[in-house]
Structures are given as structure tokens and as C-alpha cells.
């Protein structure tokens, strides 16, 4: 058999085609990045307070109170840590519940299956905000007074746990039946198979989607602000916004913080996903 080395022209052509492809990709990336800059510039312009005439039409942009922004930004920034803490604690609780829920949904025991199904149905059938109110406003009626953080983590964890149960179940079911059979054949019990063979492989599958849930949760922690007990980002923004009648600026600051946190964690997330994808091949 002959290979391309026997045809110098062919080798050259392949190289040219590859080079063209690379250039095309570079042009696309350049275009995307330029567009980002333009979009960002437009956004900045919209809040610049500048007035200008364009083709005979007068434009006026939103004028912001920059003194207020610089003065109050540190106070609102003070909520970032709490927002992240809320998210982390809630995702941990949600993951544990999701694992139990998934095991229940896959269980042959009627009560376990029923309990898991009931839990998912109840949580998915009611609004998250109502669940938050339930812990903060409902429970005190019976003398159970939780701190804002505890109530927030319980509400968010329970809620996300129900949704994440399906992710966990899919992860467990993605482990091939051959893995279980091989484990049975060497005499492992169902419990040993779950702990040693199925779950370690399932976890690798579910880490990327759980990362997604975490990013979604970062923003849902803002619902806790409504309770007024947890000084996270949105609560702080509302407080300073109302006090100075600078709601717009305050909300803008909060929005920027949420956005930046999300971008940062999304970057971590895509790195993680790339890492897991590589692990798939090497592991």
C-alpha cells in the first residue's frame, strides 16, 4: 500500500487544507471576541449618562450615581462569601439527598421506592419560594425557629436534591450491567457492588451535571434574601438601594457580582468537564 508520502503533491494539499481550516477557526474566534467587546461597549455606553445626536435623533443614556456605587459596592460585596457558602452547603445536602433518592427510586423495596417518589413529587410540585417561606415563616408557628442560613440551606438542599435525584439515577444506571455481573461472579454482595463498583463510576458521570446545578443554585440563593435574615448579595443590594433610593444602581452592582461569580464557576466547570472527559479515556 502506498501512503501520502509517495505523493508529495497530496501531502502538500493536505497541509494547505489543514492551514485553511485553522485560519477559518481563528477568524471565527476573532469575530466572536470582537463582538464581545462591542456588546460590552454598548452596555457601558447605555449606562454612561452621555447624551448624543445620531442622524438627527437625540439619544440619552442612563446616568448612574457613581459616588453611590463606589461607596456601597464593598457592603454588597460583603455578601459574596455568604452566597457561595449557601450554595456549597446546599449542594452538599442536595447531593446526599439525590443519592438517597436515586437509590430509593432504583430500590426493589416498596417503602423505599415510594418514599423517594413521594419526596420528588412533593418538592417538584411546589414552588421553591414557598418551601423557603415554609422553613422560615411556617415552622416558627410550632416553636421551631431556624437561623436564616439553616433554613436557606434546608430549603435549597431539599429542593435541588429532588431535581438532582434524576441526575444521580441516570449516573447509576449508566454503569453497564456487565460491571455488576463481573462483581457478582467474584462473589460480591449487592452492597459491596454498589459501594465498590457502581457508585465510584456513577460519581464520575454526575460531577459535570452537578456542577451545572451548583451554578444554577448560586443564583437561586438570592430567593433567600426575601426572608430578610440572610445578608447575602441581593439582600444587601435591596437594603442600600431602598435606604438611598438608588435601587437601580444597587441592583446593577448585585447583578455584576452574580454574573462574575457565575463566569468564574462556569470556567471551573468547563475545566472539570474537560478533565473528566480526559479521564474517560485514560481511566
Amino acid at each position: 500500500m502506498r501512503n501520502t508520502a509517495d505523493f508529495p503533491d497530496a501531502t502538500n494539499q493536505v497541509r494547505i487544507i489543514q492551514e485553511l481550516r485553522r485560519q477559518k477557526l481563528l477568524r471565527f474566534r476573532l469575530g466572536v471576541n470582537t463582538s464581545y467587546v462591542v456588546l460590552m461597549a454598548l452596555l457601558v455606553l447605555a449606562f454612561s449618562g452621555v447624551e448624543f445626536t445620531f442622524f438627527g435623533i437625540e439619544f440619552s443614556t442612563v446616568s448612574l450615581d457613581w459616588d453611590f456605587i463606589w461607596e456601597r459596592m464593598p457592603f454588597i460585596f460583603g455578601g459574596v462569601g455568604l452566597t457561595i457558602l449557601l450554595s456549597v452547603l446546599s449542594i452538599v445536602l442536595a447531593s446526599v439527598l439525590a443519592l438517597l433518592g436515586a437509590l430509593g427510586r432504583l430500590s426493589k423495596s416498596p417503602p423505599a421506592y415510594a418514599l423517594a417518589t413521594f419526596y420528588i413529587s412533593l418538592i417538584r410540585g411546589t414552588p421553591l419560594l414557598l418551601q423557603i417561606y415554609f422553613f422560615l415563616l411556617g415552622l416558627p408557628q410550632f416553636g421551631i425557629v431556624l437561623t436564616g442560613l439553616t433554613a436557606g440551606v434546608l430549603a435549597l438542599g431539599l429542593n435541588y436534591g429532588a431535581y438532582m435525584t434524576e441526575i444521580m439515577r441516570a449516573g447509576i444506571q449508566s454503569v453497564g450491567v456487565g460491571q455488576r455481573e463481573a462483581a457478582l461472579a467474584i462473589g460480591m454482595t449487592q452492597q459491596q457492588i454498589m459501594r465498590r463498583v457502581v457508585l465510584p463510576q456513577a460519581f464520575r458521570m454526575v460531577i459535570p451535571p452537578i456542577g451545572n446545578q451548583f451554578i444554577a443554585m448560586l443564583k437561586d440563593t438570592s430567593l433567600i434574601a426575601i426572608t430578610g435574615f440572610v445578608w447575602e448579595i441581593l439582600w444587601r443590594a435591596q437594603k442600600v438601594g431602598r435606604a438611598n433610593f438608588r435601587n437601580f444602581e444597587a441592583l446593577l452592582i448585585a447583578a455584576v457580582f452574580y454574573w462574575i461569580i457565575t463566569i468564574l464557576f462556569s470556567a471551573v466547570q468547563s475545566r472539570l468537564e474537560a478533565h473528566m472527559a480526559r479521564g474517560e479515556r485514560t481511566l
Binding site: A182, I186, M188
Partner: protein, 250 residues
């Protein structure tokens, strides 16, 4: 000599299909048996019933003194099945190595988790078995980095590490590229020479002819003919066996 494996009146249905029809046979210690037959004849199901990966509805399986009667329920029955599985080692067509463990971890998983063997001792045993299949150098490789033939040899080492009395091979070379079949057969040959009792479902007629003490031809859930390789390959009595072999050899 008393048999090490006794299968009696084994019956198995998949829905309406009667896959195993009252199968009975015995295997002597150190005997090598090859089960051949068309696909769908029930060979793999039979093998998987020996260690109860499939549950037969009726019949008994006895391996090295551990007897399990099909259709049982409860804790005792489960414990008997467990004891039966400890007497048997199984090798699958698709290897089924634990994907998240290295070759050595795969091999020591059974001894450590099932038998509670101290890790150090298990590693020694594991390395011994990896050496036996010629893959000691691959101890820290994950299955996805091994060729099919290497994966299957690790799978054999994993089964051997449990020190089974009987090895069950379920089409061990069917998923392999032709050039990789030889290395797996060489390991199996070594086991034959060591006197391992082996039950092999295979399409590898060369192996069957060379190493089997007895060949069972299975058709439609029954053994319709059995005998030594010479008998069965050279003078098949049943028309269906003849048809199968001529189809295979041409």
C-alpha cells in the same frame, strides 16, 4: 472419580421461550469441556446458570460439594448461591473489567472485598496471577489503556485470584480481533496444563479440538451429541451436528 460439577434437570425460560430443556451433565475434576452450538442454542445461558447469574426455574447445580436447588428463596438460598460463586470463576465475552480500577486493583478486588484478605497479601497474590497471564508490567494501567486481549487476560487473572475450583469461560475470544485471540488461548492452555476444571462456551474450534476432553454440542436447549474432539469433529452422528460443523469448517 467423583464429579466436581453436577448439573441436574436444569430448566430455564425467557418469557415463552424454553431456553434450557432439562439439561443434566457432570464434569470430572481437571476435565476440560467445550460447549459448542449455534447462537441462540442456549450455551451461554447454561454457563450463566452454573453460577446463577441467570436464575434457572428448575433443577440443581452442584460444584465441589456446594449444592443449589433452583427456585429457592430467602437468606439461606442467597448464601448458597454466594458459596457457589466462590467455587467458580467466570470470564466474559466483553471482559467486564472494572473501568475505574487498574489491572492490579481489578485482580485484588475479590480477595480484599469478598474474602477480607489483607491488602499486602492480596497484592502478592494479585501479582502472582498477573504474572501468570503475562501482564505484571501492566499492573497500574487502567482497562481502557489495554488491548482487548490484555483486558481479557487481566479478567482471567481476576477470576483466578479467587482460587476457584472451576473456571467458566463464556465465549472468551469472540470480542477479540483475530490477532489477539492467540494470547488469550495461550493463557487458557496454561490453565488446562495445570489441571484446572474448565467449562468453555466457544466458537474457537481449534482450541476445542486441541484441548477439550469432551465436547458437548448444544441445539435448541438440549445436548444432542457429545464426545471426544475426534469423535465429534470427524464422525458426528447427528445430522444437525454435521450441518453445524460443515457450515463452520468451510
Amino acid at each position: 472419580m467423583s464429579a466436581i460439577v453436577r448439573i441436574a434437570n436444569l430448566n430455564k425460560h425467557f418469557d415463552q421461550i424454553h431456553v434450557l430443556k432439562d439439561i443434566s451433565f457432570e464434569v470430572a475434576p481437571a476435565e476440560v469441556i467445550c460447549i459448542i452450538g449455534r447462537s441462540g442454542s442456549g450455551k451461554s445461558t447454561l454457563l450463566r446458570c452454573v453460577n446463577f447469574l441467570e436464575q434457572p426455574e428448575f433443577g440443581t447445580v452442584e460444584v465441589d460439594g456446594v449444592q443449589v436447588v433452583a427456585g429457592g428463596k430467602g437468606r439461606d438460598h442467597q448464601q448458597q448461591i454466594h458459596a457457589l460463586r466462590l467455587k467458580t470463576g467466570m470470564v466474559f465475552q466483553s471482559f467486564n473489567l472494572f473501568a475505574h480500577m487498574t489491572a492490579l486493583q481489578n485482580v485484588i478486588e475479590g480477595p480484599v472485598t469478598v474474602k477480607g484478605m489483607p491488602k499486602k497479601e492480596a497484592i502478592e497474590l494479585g501479582m502472582h496471577n498477573l504474572e501468570k497471564v503475562g501482564l505484571a508490567a501492566k499492573r497500574d494501567q487502567f482497562p481502557s489503556r489495554l488491548s482487548g486481549g490484555q483486558q481479557q487476560r487481566v479478567a482471567i487473572a481476576r477470576a483466578l485470584a479467587m482460587e476457584p475450583k472451576v473456571m467458566l469461560f463464556d465465549e472468551p475470544t469472540s470480542a477479540l480481533d483475530p490477532e489477539l485471540i492467540g494470547e488469550v488461548l495461550a493463557v487458557m492452555q496454561k490453565l488446562v496444563e495445570e489441571g484446572m476444571t474448565m467449562l468453555t462456551v466457544t466458537h474457537e474450534m481449534g482450541f476445542a479440538r486441541k484441548f477439550a476432553h469432551r465436547i458437548l454440542y448444544m441445539h435448541d436447549g438440549r445436548f444432542i451429541e457429545q464426545g471426544s474432539p475426534e469423535q465429534l469433529f470427524n464422525n458426528p452422528e447427528d445430522e444437525r451436528t454435521r450441518a453445524f460443523l460443515s457450515h463452520l469448517l468451510t
